[in-house]
C-alpha cells in the first residue's frame, strides 16, 4: 500500500476540486492568459491602444473642422475608450469559441470536467480587466492631448452605470460566443460586419438622441448604447439635455440587460453545445 502511495502514477488525488471550487478555479485559469499572457506581447498592447487612438484623433479633428462645442471632443474620447471594450467583446469573446475550434482546443474544453460557463466567465473577467487598462490609456491620452474637461455629476451613479454596462456587455459576449460556435468561415466576416454598424447605432461618437427614436430604442438592446449615453450625462454636465433617457431609467434597463444576457447565455450555451455535438461541429474546421 505504501508503495502505491509513493508512486505518482498510482497515488490517489490528494484533493479533487469539484463544484464551486472547480468553477472558480476554471474562471481564474481562463482569465489568466487574458490578464497576464496578453501583456507579454507588447506589440499587441501597443496596437490595441494605438488603433482606438487613431479613431479618436480622426473624429476629434472632424469635430474641430466643424467648430463643434468642446464637449463633443469629450464624447469622442469616451467613445474611443469604449471602442476597446466592444472590439474585445467582438473578437475575444464572441469569436473566441470559433477560434478555439479552429485551433483544436474546443474539444478539450468540452471533454474537460469543468463548466463551459466558467470558461466563458473567465474569458469575460480577463478580457474586461485587460481592456480596462487599454481604455484608461486611451482616455488619459485623449484627455491630455485634447484638453477634455470632465465634470462628474455623481460618482456613485457613474460607478453603477459602468459596472452594469460591463456586466451586460460581457454577458452579451458570452451569449454571442455560443452563437458563433455554429459558424464556419462566415464567423470572421460576421464579426467584421459588427464594427462600423454598431459604432453607428450605439452612438460611439455622437449622442444617440440624434438618431430617430425607434432606432435609438432598438440600439438600446446593446448595453454600450445606454451605458455611454448615461456616462456622457454623468461626466459632462452640459450633456444632460442631449441624453436619450434619464440616467436612473438607463441604470434600471442596464441591470435588466445584465441579468437577461447572462441567463440567456447559460441556456443558449447548453443548447448550442448539444446541437454542435449532435451535428459534429465541435471538431469541424472549415476554412
Amino acid at each position: 500500500m505504501d508503495n502505491l502511495n509513493s508512486n505518482p502514477l498510482t497515488r490517489p488525488y490528494s484533493r479533487k476540486d469539484i463544484g464551486w471550487r472547480l468553477f472558480l478555479k476554471t474562471i481564474i485559469a481562463r482569465s489568466y492568459p487574458r490578464i497576464v499572457g496578453q501583456q507579454r506581447e507588447l506589440s499587441w498592447v501597443l496596437f490595441e491602444i494605438l488603433l482606438p487612438m487613431f479613431a479618436v484623433c480622426t473624429y476629434v479633428f472632424v469635430y474641430r473642422a466643424l467648430n463643434a462645442p468642446e464637449e463633443y471632443i469629450g464624447f469622442v474620447v469616451m467613445g474611443g475608450a469604449m471602442t476597446a471594450f466592444w472590439l474585445n467583446v467582438l473578437w475575444s469573446m464572441s469569436s473566441q469559441l470559433y477560434w478555439e475550434k479552429q485551433q483544436g482546443n474546443l474539444q478539450l474544453y468540452i471533454i474537460a470536467p469543468n463548466s463551459m460557463m466558467a470558461i466563458l466567465l473567465g474569458m469575460a473577467v480577463g478580457g474586461m480587466f485587460a481592456t480596462l487598462l487599454r481604455a484608461v490609456t486611451v482616455t488619459i491620452f485623449g484627455t491630455l492631448v485634447f484638453s477634455v474637461k470632465f465634470e462628474i455629476v455623481s460618482y456613485l451613479q457613474l460607478f453603477a452605470v459602468f459596472t452594469l454596462t460591463m456586466i451586460a456587455l460581457y454577458g452579451m459576449g458570452m451569449m454571442m460566443a455560443s452563437a458563433f460556435l455554429l459558424f464556419g468561415r462566415e464567423a470572421w466576416h460576421i464579426a467584421n460586419l459588427a464594427q462600423e454598424p454598431i459604432f453607428l447605432a450605439s452612438g460611439f461618437f455622437f449622442p444617440i438622441k440624434f438618431l430617430p427614436f425607434w432606432v435609438a430604442a432598438g440600439a438600446s438592446l446593446l448595453p454600450l448604447t445606454l451605458g455611454m449615453d448615461a456616462m456622457r450625462q454623468l461626466v459632462f454636465s452640459s450633456a444632460t439635455s442631449i441624453g436619450f433617457l434619464d440616467v436612473a431609467t438607463e441604470i434600471w434597463i442596464l441591470a435588466g440587460l445584465a441579468v437577461l444576457f447572462i441567463v440567456a447565455s447559460k441556456y443558449l450555451l447548453a443548447y448550442v453545445e448539444k446541437l454542435a455535438v449532435r451535428e459534429g461541429r465541435i471538431t469541424e474546421s472549415r476554412r
Binding site: V62, R64, H189
Partner: protein, 284 residues
C-alpha cells in the same frame, strides 16, 4: 495558349482573392456585407456633420468629408488587402510555402490578391457616392466632371496603394503574431494625415508636413477636384496649386513610395526566405 508568368500570377491571384472574398456566403448576404459596412462608416460622419451644422448639407465641407471618406475605402481595401494576403496564406490557409515553390511571381501574386479587394472596394465606393448624390445633396454634375483627371488620378492612386501594400506585405512576412495590425494601423494613420475627412489645416502645424509628404493627400484632392472642382478649391490647404501641379506631385511621390516599397519588399522577402519564415505560423 501560353501566357507570361507575371500575368498568370496576377490573374490567378485576383481570381483566388475574389473567390475567398465572396464565396463564404450566399450572394445576398455578401452584397449586404459589402454595402452595410462602408455605408455605416459614412453614416457616422454624416450624423456627426448633421448634428453640428443642424443639417446644413449645402456647405462645401460636406462633400469634402463625404467624398474623401468614400474614396478612402480603397486604401483599406487595396493597401491592406495586399498585406493581408500574407497573413491569410501563411497563418490561416498555410499555403504560402506552396506559393513560394510554385512557378509564379510572388509580388505579382500578392498584388493580384489586392486586385480582388479592389473590385469589392469599388462596389462600396460606388454605392457610397451614389447614396451621397441621391440622398445627401452631394452635387456631382456628370457633365462637369473632369473624367480624364478622375481616371488618371484613380489609376495612379490605386497602383500607388497596391505598392504601399506590398511594402506592408514585406513587413508582415518578417513579423510574428500581428495578424492585420500593421495594415490597419497604417490605414488609420493615413486617414488622419491625408486629410481624408477634414482639411489638413485642422491638424496641429507641426503635424501638417507629414500630410504633405503622403501621396494619398494629393490623390484624394485630385479625386475631389475632378468630381466637384469648386468645392475642393474652397479650402486653403492646396488651393494655390493647379490640378497639373498636384498631379505632378502625386506622380513624383507615388514613384518614390513605389520604389521604396519594392526595395523594402525585396529585403524582407530575402530575410523571410533566409530565416525560414515563409511557413512559420504564429497566430493559429
Amino acid at each position: 495558349m501560353q501566357t507570361s508568368t507575371s500575368w498568370r500570377s496576377f490573374r490567378m491571384a485576383a481570381w483566388l482573392g475574389w473567390v475567398i472574398e465572396s464565396n463564404w456566403t450566399d450572394p445576398f448576404l455578401f452584397a449586404v456585407y459589402s454595402i452595410v459596412k462602408p455605408l455605416s462608416g459614412a453614416a457616422i460622419l454624416v450624423i456627426m456633420y448633421g448634428v453640428i451644422t443642424e443639417g446644413n448639407f449645402g456647405s462645401a465641407l460636406f462633400p469634402y468629408i463625404y467624398l474623401g471618406n468614400a474614396f478612402y475605402i480603397y486604401v483599406g481595401a487595396v493597401m491592406t488587402g495586399v498585406s493581408w494576403a500574407v497573413v491569410d496564406d501563411r497563418e490561416l490557409y498555410k499555403t504560402l510555402k506552396y506559393m513560394y515553390i510554385a512557378p509564379i511571381n510572388i509580388p505579382l501574386y500578392l498584388l493580384g490578391r489586392g486586385g480582388a479587394r479592389f473590385v469589392v472596394g469599388s462596389i462600396a465606393v460606388l454605392i457610397t457616392i451614389l447614396t451621397g448624390v441621391f440622398f445627401l445633396n452631394v452635387k456631382i454634375n456628370l457633365a462637369e466632371v473632369n473624367w480624364g483627371l478622375f481616371f488618371v488620378s484613380l489609376t495612379i492612386g490605386i497602383i500607388m496603394l497596391a505598392l504601399i501594400g506590398l511594402m506592408l506585405a514585406g513587413f508582415t512576412l518578417v513579423t510574428a503574431r500581428h495578424e492585420g495590425f500593421i495594415g490597419e494601423a497604417v490605414a488609420a494613420a493615413l486617414y488622419i494625415f491625408s486629410g481624408a475627412v477634414f482639411p489638413l489645416d485642422v491638424l496641429p502645424e507641426w503635424l501638417r508636413p507629414v500630410g504633405y509628404f503622403m501621396p494619398t493627400t494629393y490623390w484624394l484632392e485630385l479625386l475631389r477636384r475632378s468630381l466637384v472642382g469648386e468645392v475642393a478649391n474652397a479650402f486653403p490647404t492646396l488651393s494655390q496649386f493647379s490640378n497639373l501641379e498636384i498631379l505632378g506631385v502625386m506622380i513624383g511621390l507615388s514613384i518614390l513610395f513605389g520604389l521604396v516599397s519594392i526595395w523594402i519588399f525585396k529585403i524582407c522577402d530575402h530575410i523571410a526566405r533566409e530565416n525560414g519564415m515563409i511557413d512559420r505560423t504564429t497566430n493559429y
